[in-house]
Symmetry: C2
Subunit: 350 residues, 2 copies
């Protein structure tokens, strides 16, 4: 069973048919008002879709990158293994650059690349790239289900649970990371999900509300500035977010605003959990300091989504799109192997 019910059908935000092969992306820029899938023809279109946020969410863009590299391998006209490897290496770099903060993208694309070039022949490499992309995606979907199983007990009847941005089925291959325990708990408990609008690009308002409404999970949309007030009142008693990259020491990069929520959760003694599949863990980043933070187009700040310009035209803007939450602020890490401490991460994911 797939989580997203779209116009009565089970669909995924990132769909890949290995037999054709064909890659389709649900255009998340048009949600919640319009359901429209875009056919991705090559890696350049995939990179563009990631940059424009047609697809977003760490595992979902990881899958997009892996499938796009598989398409590139399939379409390759290379005759020698050397040419094949050189060609895929370039594609890999271009895909990874589309979202520098996300580890899944880098990791998944690496795995597909290595699988493809380790085969004896170019022809076998082409087939292997597709197999490997499908394998990682299905593994990731299974991990998300497990994350729901291991962590749903954190959510009690009647509780207010804050999440951030969108870390649901729309952000993953299926089921979600932060929304995994929420989906699972909703099978037998009533509780309320609080979600901030998630400025500047409003993924919380546009995507998470839509996804939770599909599942009939009770939710309340608030402004990002209001989450602290609803912590102070006790309405929010638990925080669960996804993440884009976790360093070896446990520092976590995630959508901008995660840090502020984590600081406030600490201040109010509210447990703060981060949910991550194995591909989000970056064994090459010792701490948050080595995680690159993407700065995006100033127009995302100057304009209110597709609405009017807010500030004077020449207003100086910074648009840092991710922040680092230090491990001290994270109560635990929800993984397919259980809820871990920062110290347990390296062994669990090695």
């Amino acid at each position: 069973v797939i989580s997203l019910q779209i116009q009565g059908e089970e669909r995924r935000a990132v769909e890949f048919d290995p037999d054709k092969p064909e890659l389709l992306l649900l255009n998340q820029l048009l949600l919640p008002d319009k359901i429209s899938f875009i056919r991705i023809r090559d890696y350049a279109e995939a990179a563009d879709a990631i940059t424009r946020m047609v697809v977003r969410g760490a595992p979902a863009i990881g899958a997009t990158g892996a499938y796009a590299l598989a398409l590139a391998a399939h379409d390759s006209s290379a005759q020698t293994k050397e040419d094949f490897s050189r060609e895929l290496s370039k594609v890999k770099d271009l895909l990874v650059a589309a979202r520098p903060t996300a580890n899944d993208l880098r990791h998944w694309v690496d795995l597909v690349f290595l699988a493809a070039i380790q085969e004896a022949t170019v022809s076998e490499g082409r087939a292997k790239a597709i197999q490997e992309a499908v394998r990682i995606a299905e593994e990731s979907a299974a991990e998300c289900r497990l994350m729901g199983e291991v962590a749903h007990h954190l959510i009690e009847e009647g509780m207010g649970v804050l999440t951030h941005c969108n870390a649901g089925a729309l952000a993953t291959v299926d089921y979600g990371t932060a929304l995994a325990p929420i989906r699972r708990a909703a099978e037998d408990r009533s509780f309320t999900v609080y979600i901030g609008r998630t400025g500047p690009y409003f993924q919380g308002a546009r995507l998470t509300t839509w996804e939770l409404a599909q599942e009939n999970i009770s939710h309340i949309l608030v402004d990002d500035n209001a989450v602290f007030h609803h912590m102070a009142t006790g309405e929010i008693a638990l925080v669960i977010t996804g993440c884009d990259r976790v360093a070896v020491n446990g520092d976590a990069a995630n959508k901008i605003g995660t840090l502020g929520r984590a600081i406030a959760a600490k201040y109010y003694d509210i447990p703060f959990y981060i949910a991550l599949p194995r591909t989000t863990f970056d064994e090459n980043s010792p701490s948050g300091e080595s995680i690159p933070l993407e700065e995006r187009d100033p127009n995302e700040i100057l304009y209110a989504w597709n609405g009017p310009r807010l500030a004077p035209e020449d207003t100086p803007v910074r648009n840092v799109s991710f922040d680092i939450t230090p491990k001290e602020l994270i109560t635990g890490y929800i993984t397919h192997q259980g809820i871990l401490s920062a110290g347990e991460l390296p062994t669990a994911f090695s």
Copy 2:
């Protein structure tokens, strides 16, 4: 000299000509793109302008309320002191209800009311209401200048200073509260003001950027979710905000999001100051718990300013527009009498 330079003229956001009498409001819903003053004919139009946020900011709506009550006194056809008092009392209640969290509005309207009804005759009461409204407004403007004098030393050359929402000349009779030390420091120092967009209604993006640009004060607009990141990097080294009501113990109500910034400032050991004129201090509220917090129209959350709807139409929304920052998180209170501690407030303002 008046702070706001509008189309080459010195203007105020709230203008009152006691001789006609006439009340004009700069329509802040049209900034930064259009300069347009609205003539307010009576107290009902004034209350509506406050509710719709044509005028906003604690002292600016205080002045609007005071002038509107003075207009009501002037226009009153009451023949007896009893009728006059009864009539003004009703007007007073209606005006105060337009923005329940703000203390200035309640306080200023009370002062004008008491001055008017204490006169020997209705005719003298009419004249006195106008005199008293003008007196408080000019006193408040002078206080703002003094707040700049007493606190500008907090701002050092090269510093990053975070403010929130708009607490400048647009929010006051003149000069500003939080922007008072910023304006004064800018006379002889270079530094950068950080301002979050201030969701849901984007007063930071729409108003503060415009006001700072008028004064050539360096500023950077960021998303509300990003202020924590810029504290973590050390770019922000000081926070100064205005406020809507300060309780006797020092707890402060201000625009939603102030609380989260104060918690983060504490976490990073960044000094956090609140600037207040005397009329913002509420001797009837022992602590923040007794301050009413206005909840506004859900459409402010569902829509991005005048842009498209963000979330599905029937999404459940909370739109709490103010929060309470507990005194423990406030380093000091910038007043016309100096920078005070919470304990010094009651004596200073009694």
